[in-house]
C-alpha cells in the first residue's frame, strides 16, 4: 500500500465500546479509492462493529475516521449517506413487505435528482436482471439470493462512492455466492469502491485488492490480497489448510 496516496476512508487508532465490552482495539485501516478492500475475521471478531463505527451507528471513543480527508466521526447516518457512503446490511435486511421497486426507491431516499435516479435505476436493473422481472413482487417473497441482490441494488441506488457490505455470502448456496461476488467486481469496475466484511476468506480474497484480518477487535494482518492468499498464518487460520 502506498502511504502517500490519500485513502478514500481511513480509520486511525479507533477504539469502540459496547457498554463495558471493548469491541474494537486500536483499529487502523485504509479503504483505497477505486479498489475492493476486505475485512476478514471469525465470529465476534468485531467485523460488523467496524462497519457500524464507520456508519456512525456505534461511537468511536478514540481515534479518527476520515472520509476524503474530512473527519466523519459523530456524523449522522443520513449525513454519511449524502456524502456517498452506502451499506448492504448483514442478513440482507430488505424491506420484506415492500415491493422490489419500493425497496429500490428507499435506496434513493435522500436524492432529489429525478433524472439521475432514473438513470441509476436502469443501471442497477441491468446489473440484476432478476429484479426487473420481479419489480412488482414483495421483497419477502424473493429467494435468499434475490434478496441479497435487492439489498445490493438498494444500496447502489444512493449512487455511492463507497459501498460497505456486511457478509454478503451469509446463508447463500455456493453457486449464488460466486454470482454475488462476480457482481461485486462488476460494481467496482463501474467505479464504486467496495469495502466487504466477510467470514468466507477465500472468496473475499479472490476478488479483493487489499485485505485486513481482525481478531478479537484487533487488526492482526494487513496486506494486499495476493500476499494474504499466500501468507502462512492466513492459510492456516482462515483458508482451511493445515
Amino acid at each position: 500500500m502506498d502511504d502517500n496516496d490519500r485513502a478514500l476512508l481511513e480509520l486511525s487508532h479507533v477504539d469502540t465500546f459496547y457498554g463495558p465490552i471493548h469491541a474494537l482495539r486500536d483499529v487502523s485501516l485504509r479503504i483505497e479509492d477505486g479498489h475492493i478492500t476486505c475485512l476478514l475475521g471469525g465470529n465476534a471478531s468485531g467485523k460488523s462493529t467496524t462497519l457500524k463505527t464507520i456508519l456512525g451507528m456505534a461511537d468511536a471513543v478514540n481515534g479518527t475516521i476520515e472520509y476524503l480527508g474530512e473527519r466523519i466521526g459523530g456524523m449522522t447516518t443520513a449525513e454519511l449517506v449524502q456524502r456517498g457512503i452506502s451499506m448492504v446490511p448483514e442478513n440482507r435486511r430488505i424491506f420484506t413487505r415492500m415491493t422490489v421497486m419500493e425497496n429500490l426507491e428507499m435506496g434513493s431516499y435522500l436524492r432529489t435528482d429525478k433524472d439521475g435516479i432514473k438513470e441509476d435505476l436502469e443501471r442497477v436493473l441491468s446489473l440484476f436482471p432478476r429484479l426487473e422481472e420481479r419489480h412488482k413482487q414483495v421483497g419477502g417473497t424473493l429467494s435468499g439470493g434475490e434478496q441479497q441482490m435487492l439489498a445490493m441494488a438498494r444500496a447502489l441506488m444512493s449512487r455511492p462512492r463507497l459501498l460497505l457490505m456486511d457478509e454478503p455470502s451469509m446463508g447463500l448456496a455456493p453457486i449464488l455466492v460466486q454470482q454475488i461476488f462476480d457482481i461485486i467486481v462488476e460494481i467496482n469496475q463501474q467505479g464504486t469502491s467496495v469495502f466487504v466484511v466477510e467470514q468466507n476468506a477465500n472468496m473475499a480474497l479472490s476478488i479483493a485488492d487489499y485485505g485486513y484480518v481482525l481478531q478479537t477487535g484487533k487488526i492482526v494482518l494487513a496486506d494486499t490480497a495476493a500476499n494474504l492468499q499466500v501468507n502462512k498464518m492466513m492459510r492456516e487460520a482462515y483458508l482451511g489448510e493445515m
Binding site: M57, Y109, G140, S143
Partner: protein, 591 residues
C-alpha cells in the same frame, strides 16, 4: 407419485366426536352467559324464529360443517396435487355424529337441571331458557329428543354442504348470512321505507316491529339466489362493455360513480332518519379516530394503545375554550375560533407523548402508551386539575356549533360536520400514503435500523406520526364535545383505544376503506343491536379471533397487507425460486 392416504374408521369417528365436544362446550358457554336468552326476545322472522334460536341452529350446523372440514384437513395433511375427497357417507356421518354430541350437551343440561337447581350457581339457567333450548318442550322426553334430533339433522346437512358444488354452498351460506343481517337491521330498513313518499305498505310487507316478515325473508333469499345465478354473467358483460368504451367515457363513468356516491353520502341522513343519523355520527367519531390511528399504527408501525389520550385532549381543550360554565375556562370562544387552537394543543400533546417513547418499539411502546392513555383519564378525574377542567363533574354548557347565526341542531345536521371532518382525515391519510413521508414511515415500520441507514430521519418521522395522529384525533374529540354539550372523564376510557385499534384490525390495518367498514361493524352494529350491549366485549373478542383465523388481512385489506398475507402468492413463488431454499427472514444481529 400418488399416495393413498386414508384414516382408520376409528380415527375418523374420534375426530367427529372431538369437534362435537368442542362445539358442544362452546354452545354451553353461549347458553350459560345468557346470549341465547337475551337474543330470544328478538325475532329473525316474525313469529317464526328468534335470533336466539337461529344462533343455536347455526351452532348445530356449524358443528357438522367444522367436522367435515377437519376430516378433510386430516385426510390432506399437506398440500398435494391430488386431493383426497371426503366421501359422502362420511360427510353425512361425521356431521351427524358431531351434531348428536352437541345436542346431547343440551339434553344433559336439561336433565341435570331437572335434578339439581343449576340456577343457584348459574343465574342465566332460568325456566324460560330451558323452554328455549328445548324449542318449547321443556323437561319432557320430547324436550330431550328434539334438540338432539334437530342438531343431528342440521349438522348432517351442513356436513353434506361441505362436499357439494361450490355455488350451492355459497347460496345457502350467503342466504343465511344476509337474512340474519337484514333481520338485525330490520328496524333501520323499516324506518327508511316508511319515509314520506314511499307507500306505507312497503315497510309492512318486508319488516315487522320485530324482525323480518316471511315475505321479507323470501325476498332476501331470492335476491341472493339471483345474484349467485346471474351475478357473474352480468359482471362479465359489464366488464366487457366497459373495456370497449373510450377512455374519455370510462373517465366520465368513474366521475359519475363518484358523484353518485357523494350524493348518497349527502342525502344519507335524510334517507335514514333521526336515530340512525345519530348512530352515523357516533360511527363518524370512530372513523375519524380510525384514520388518525391508522397513520400511527398502520403506516408508521408504532403500536399506540393510549390513543384515547389525544381524543380526550381534543375534547377537553374544545370544552375549556368554548364552555359557558362560569367557573371554568372563561374564554367562551366559538367552535370555529377554538378549533385551530384545539388542533395545535393536541398536536403538541402528541409530540409530548412521542418524545419519551422514541427509543421504544413494539411491546414496550404499547405498554407505555397504554399508561399514557390512563394518565390522561386520571388527570381529567383529578382534584388537582378540577378547577381548570372540572374533575369528576366534567364540563357542561359547551355551546352548540353555529355557522354564522344558524345554530346546527340535531344529528341530521351535525352529520355534515362529521362527514366533512372525516373527508379531511381521509384526504390527509390518502395523500400521505403514497408520499415520500408515507414511504419513510413504511420503511421505518419494516426495519428501523435499515431505514436509518437509507438516510431516513427516524426521530423526525416518529414525532410526525404521533403529531398528525393526535391532530386528527383532536378533530374527533372537538366534535364529540360540541355534539354532546357536556363531557366527563369516564367517556375517555381505555375501551375507546381498544375499539379504535380493533376496528383497524377488523377493517384491515393500513387500509382506508377498511377503517370505514371496521367502524360500521364494531361501532354501528352494536348501536343497532341494543341486546349487544352487555356482550359487546365478548363479541369484539370473538370477532377478532375469528378474523385472525379466517381473514387475518381484515375485511377490506390494503393492497400491501393482502399481498404479504396471501399464501397462494408465496406457494407460487416457491416454484420459481428453485435455486435454493427460501432464506429465513432476516433477523438483526451483530458481532
Amino acid at each position: 407419485m400418488i399416495h393413498v392416504r386414508d384414516l382408520s374408521q376409528a380415527s375418523k369417528l374420534r375426530l367427529a366426536l372431538k369437534i362435537g365436544l368442542f362445539v358442544g362446550i362452546a354452545m354451553q358457554y353461549l347458553i350459560f352467559v345468557g346470549i341465547i336468552e337475551t337474543f330470544h326476545d328478538r325475532f329473525l322472522i316474525k313469529d317464526v324464529i328468534s335470533i336466539g334460536e337461529i344462533i343455536m341452529l347455526l351452532v348445530f350446523a356449524g358443528s357438522g360443517y367444522l367436522s367435515v372440514w377437519a376430516l378433510k384437513k386430516a385426510l390432506n395433511p399437506v398440500h398435494e396435487e391430488v386431493e383426497v375427497p371426503v366421501r359422502r357417507p362420511w360427510a353425512v356421518g361425521s356431521g351427524a355424529l358431531s351434531g348428536l354430541v352437541v345436542g346431547a350437551f343440551i339434553a344433559l343440561l336439561v336433565i341435570v337441571n331437572s335434578v339439581i337447581e343449576v340456577r343457584d350457581v348459574f343465574v342465566s339457567i332460568s325456566p324460560d331458557l330451558i323452554q328455549i333450548v328445548t324449542f318449547g318442550r321443556g323437561e319432557t322426553l320430547a324436550g330431550l329428543v328434539i334438540p338432539m334430533a334437530l342438531s343431528t339433522i342440521l349438522a348432517a346437512i351442513a356436513g353434506t354442504l361441505y362436499i357439494v358444488r361450490a355455488d350451492v354452498r355459497r347460496t345457502v351460506v350467503l342466504s343465511v348470512v344476509w337474512v340474519t343481517f337484514a333481520a338485525l337491521i330490520s328496524d333501520l330498513i323499516r324506518v327508511s321505507l316508511s319515509r314520506p313518499g314511499f307507500p306505507v305498505f312497503l315497510s309492512r310487507i318486508f319488516t315487522s316491529s320485530n324482525g323480518l316478515t316471511v315475505v321479507g325473508t323470501v325476498t332476501v333469499v331470492a335476491v341472493v339466489v339471483a345474484w349467485i345465478v346471474f351475478g357473474p354473467a352480468v359482471q362479465e358483460k359489464w366488464k366487457a362493455r366497459k373495456s370497449t368504451m373510450s377512455p374519455a367515457r370510462q373517465r366520465n363513468l368513474r366521475y359519475g360513480q363518484w358523484s353518485l356516491l357523494l350524493l348518497l353520502l349527502l342525502l344519507l341522513p335524510l334517507i335514514v332518519g333521526v336515530f340512525p343519523s345519530e348512530v352515523l355520527n357516533n360511527i363518524g367519531i370512530f372513523i375519524i379516530m380510525g384514520f388518525g390511528l391508522n397513520i400511527v399504527v398502520g403506516m408508521a408501525g408504532l403500536l399506540d394503545l393510549g390513543y384515547v389520550a389525544f381524543f380526550a385532549v381534543g375534547a377537553y381543550s374544545m370544552a375549556v375554550l368554548t364552555t359557558l360554565q362560569p367557573d371554568i375556562g372563561g374564554f367562551e370562544l366559538t367552535f370555529w375560533a377554538a378549533l385551530p387552537i384545539v388542533i395545535i394543543i393536541t398536536g403538541i400533546a402528541g409530540l409530548l407523548v412521542g418524545a419519551p417513547v422514541l427509543r421504544m418499539r413494539g411491546d414496550y411502546l404499547a405498554i407505555v402508551t397504554l399508561g399514557f392513555g390512563e394518565i390522561a383519564r386520571f388527570l381529567a378525574l383529578s382534584d388537582w386539575l378540577s378547577p381548570f377542567i372540572g374533575g369528576a363533574q366534567g364540563i357542561i354548557k359547551i355551546p352548540k356549533i353555529a355557522i354564522g347565526a344558524t345554530v346546527l341542531r340535531g344529528p341530521q345536521v351535525l352529520y355534515f360536520l362529521f362527514l366533512a371532518a372525516g373527508a379531511v382525515a381521509y384526504f390527509i391519510s390518502w395523500r400521505l400514503k403514497d408520499s415520500r413521508t408515507g414511504r419513510a414511515w413504511m420503511a421505518m415500520r419494516e426495519d428501523e435500523k435499515v431505514a436509518e441507514a437509507m438516510g431516513v430521519n427516524t426521530v423526525y418521522y416518529k414525532l410526525l406520526a404521533f403529531g398528525i395522529g393526535a391532530m386528527i384525533a383532536s378533530l374527533s374529540g372537538a366534535l364529540f364535545a360540541a355534539k354532546l354539550g357536556t363531557i366527563y372523564p369516564h367517556s375517555f376510557s381505555v375501551l375507546v383505544s381498544i375499539t379504535v385499534l380493533s376496528l383497524l384490525i377488523v377493517g384491515g390495518i393500513g387500509s382506508l376503506p377498511g377503517v370505514i367498514v371496521g367502524a360500521f361493524v364494531l361501532v354501528g352494529l352494536p348501536e343497532l343491536l341494543r341486546e349487544f350491549g352487555e356482550f359487546r366485549l365478548l363479541m369484539y373478542g370473538a370477532l377478532l379471533i375469528t378474523m385472525m383465523i379466517l381473514r387475518p388481512e381484515g375485511i377490506l385489506p390494503s393492497v400491501e397487507r393482502a399481498r404479504e398475507l396471501r399464501k397462494e402468492d408465496r406457494a407460487q413463488d416457491e416454484v420459481y425460486s428453485l435455486d435454493e431454499p427460501t432464506a429465513a427472514p432476516a433477523t438483526p444481529s451483530g458481532d
